[in-house]
């Protein structure tokens, strides 16, 4: 199988879906000639033309709202928010509209839009080019939120998002774009939205996480393996709605659970994961459910010292794992 980068998986998925279905089109800021500021839509403008790789005015609420209108008509728009931080002007369109269109019309209308955005830190992006924004949306029934960790998952899940009959927010970790590479089959495939994935089987402690942190956890697990600590790693992949069964199973398996997220701690995705475990696995637990996350400050600063302080990394994950294993 060819090895490609995380961002190449994005581009491949888009290209193949556009080839497969004429109703699929891309819209956003600088996605056309420029191929996107991260080059996620590189080459698509040349292949599909300005109409299907649509440069929009600088207005996120319109990017979402126009996409929603097209989706209601029956198209399969893939809207790009240039940075996840800049999705905020589109929150009304996403929460009040996309999420509620099927429900409010009693299934008469639907809104099969995909909204992609690069999120996450560790790239000197400072407060407004580093944020994790999933928690803002992870309480809005009608939405699905996908946050893949590997090129394989990116491609399979982005294709699934484009084909999904309902709105999907698809958050891509921008530091993973070129850092993370992996095998991806040449044949067409999709992966199920809503299903978590075991990234490592283990029996001593369970780590549940998503996004770039999956790789930190895998690295840390390799180190701990040398010491005989066997780590089970569940990659949530879809962070809303959560895969309750998989969470319960993974937590019950070892009875010691560490939840890891790059986002701020209070009110994040892993709070809900903890609540699910607490509701369902109390008597399987051998230790308190631990959370490792960013501190509760607005976002990570620009200066390298403070950015590093904020960001989780393999060392921090390893430390938290070891503490839990020793509990």
């Amino acid at each position: 199988m060819p090895v490609i980068s995380y961002i190449q998986a994005v581009t491949q998925a888009l290209r193949e879906e556009m080839q497969r279905d004429e109703k699929v089109f891309v819209l956003g800021e600088d996605v056309g000639k420029r191929g996107g500021v991260f080059r996620a839509t590189d080459g698509l403008y040349d292949e599909f033309g300005a109409d299907r790789v649509l440069d929009t005015p600088l207005a996120e609420s319109a990017i979402a709202g126009v996409g929603i209108g097209a989706a209601m008509y029956g198209m399969r728009p893939v809207a790009e928010m240039q940075f996840a931080d800049f999705i905020m002007p589109a929150v009304n369109q996403i929460i009040s509209e996309a999420a509620k269109i099927r429900y409010r019309s009693n299934n008469d209308w639907s809104c099969p839009i995909t909204i992609r955005a690069p999120y996450g830190g560790g790239v000197h992006g400072a407060l407004y080019h580093s944020q994790s924004v999933e928690a803002v949306f992870a309480n809005q029934p009608g939405l699905k939120i996908v946050m893949p960790s590997t090129p394989y998952d990116v491609k399979g899940l982005l294709k699934a998002a484009v084909r999904d009959p309902d709105p999907v927010l698809f958050f891509e970790h921008k530091r993973a774009y070129r850092l993370i590479k992996g095998e991806v089959p040449e044949e067409d495939y999709t992966l199920p939205i809503g299903k978590a994935d075991i990234k490592r089987e283990g029996s001593d402690i369970t780590v549940i996480t998503y996004g770039l942190a999956v790789h930190f956890a895998l690295q840390a697990a390799d180190k701990l393996a040398e010491e005989g600590i066997d780590v089970h790693i569940l990659d949530l992949r879809t962070v809303y709605p959560l895969d309750r069964e998989a969470i319960i199973e993974a937590a019950s398996k070892t009875g010691k659970v560490l939840l890891v997220s790059e986002d701020n701690k209070e009110g994040g995705i892993i709070s809900e994961v903890s609540a699910i475990i607490s509701e369902n696995c109390l008597f399987e637990l051998d230790a308190p459910v631990q959370r490792l996350a960013g501190p509760d400050v607005p976002a990570m600063p620009y200066s390298p010292t403070m950015e590093k302080y904020f960001m989780i990394n393999p060392d921090k994950v390893e430390k938290a794992m070891r503490e839990l294993a020793e509990f």
């Binding site: 089109f25 109409d51 299907r52 649509l54 929009t56 005015p57 207005a59 609420s61 319109a62 979402a64 709202g65 126009v66 996409g67 929603i68 209108g69 097209a70 989706a71 209601m72 008509y73 029956g74 198209m75 728009p77 002007p89 009304n92 369109q93 009040s96 509209e97 509620k100 269109i101 099927r102 429900y103 409010r104 019309s105 009693n106 299934n107 008469d108 209308w109 639907s110 029934p141 009608g142 699905k144 009959p165 309902d166």
Partner: protein, 330 residues
């Protein structure tokens, strides 16, 4: 006898009579809703009264078998013209399961009916504006020749979504008709404390599109300008902004008391220009709306409203657990 204005616009006597019938139907349904509300039978009403001429004039200027409408909560005239029945409106008023707009999930006035290309709407104002642009964009991509009409209040034209949607349509030359129903109030706020421009249509130039302000009490004036806008749209000449000026004859909604912020005299003055009266007089003076026709029309509409009321009142509510359905595709 008044000058015949509709012939020049290509409208037959039957067509203008039909326009009047729909205007009157909307009015009568609306009046009935208020009675039912005051009698404690329906929880909420939001009115079309005073705006029927603009709504029906605009709808008739479209191809009602092809074009898309994205109405706002007052647009009973638009949706009736596009095929929604009085019974369906009453089912929505009574919040009954059969309401085609939302299965009684939304308040009355939150229209949506796919088979008639009435696009589902919500309560936060102006969100429908970019949707209309997206539908027009889809049509252009698919090389269809329909246009989309989106309506909203003058107050709502201050939302960012109006600006962003209008500019998007302007840049991409999309067949969208933006129609502001300027009824002079946004709840308690008169238009001069809402907008700093003289006319809402002054905003058109900022989006590179033509803008027109017309008498919203005159369905023929509205018809004419919307017809031209639809033609421009179909010819690939892009969007148009239209402001139809009338007056909100009722309180904002059944929850409002407009006596706290406006004078009765002002309302009385506006009532004189009520299109149900003025357009009725136009048709009468041309002997199109004869006494016989009028009597029969009134009876027919009253019967329709009565039947619809009875039906809707007796129709079942949705099952409680059906609240769980259709969050996602099933």
């Amino acid at each position: 006898m008044a000058e015949n204005r509709h012939e020049k616009l290509g409208l037959t006597d039957d067509q203008v009579l039909e326009m009047y019938r729909i205007m009157l139907t909307a009015r009568k349904v609306d009046e009935r809703m208020w009675l039912l509300n005051r009698a404690g039978k329906i929880p909420f009403v939001i009115s079309c009264q005073g705006q029927e001429a603009a709504q029906v004039g605009a709808a008739f200027a479209l191809d009602r078998d092809k074009d898309y409408v994205l109405p706002y909560y007052r647009d009973m005239g638009v949706v009736i013209a596009f095929g929604m029945t009085v019974k369906e409106l009453m089912l929505s008023g009574f919040a009954k399961a059969e309401d085609p707009n939302s299965g009684s999930r939304q308040m009355p006035g939150h229209f949506g009916q796919k088979k008639n290309r009435i696009v589902t709407g919500s309560s936060p104002v102006t969100t429908q504006v970019p949707h209309a642009v997206g539908i027009a964009l889809a049509g252009k991509m698919e090389k269809k020749d329909f246009v989309s009409l989106v309506t909203f209040g003058e107050g709502s034209s201050n939302q960012g979504d109006f600006h962003e949607g209008a500019n998007f349509a302007g840049v991409h030359k999309l067949p969208v008709i933006f129609m502001v129903e300027n009824n002079k109030y946004a709840i308690s706020i008169p238009v001069e404390r809402q907008l700093a421009c003289e006319k809402v249509s002054d905003r058109a130039i900022g989006y590179g599109m033509p803008g027109y302000t017309v008498d919203g009490n005159d369905p023929l004036e509205v018809f004419e300008v919307v017809k031209q806008a639809a033609e421009r749209g179909r010819n690939g000449e892009g969007p148009t902004l239209i402001e139809a000026v009338s007056y909100r004859l009722t309180a904002h909604s059944s929850d409002d008391d407009d006596r706290t912020y406006r004078e009765k005299e002002e309302v009385d003055e506006a009532r004189k220009k009520d299109s149900i009266i003025t357009f009725g007089n136009y048709l009468r003076s041309l002997d199109i709306l004869t006494e016989d026709i009028e009597k029969q029309m009134n009876e027919e509409i009253t019967d329709l409203v009565n039947e619809a009321t009875d039906y809707a009142e007796n129709a079942p509510y949705a099952d409680p657990e059906s609240a769980l359905k259709y969050v996602y595709e099933e």
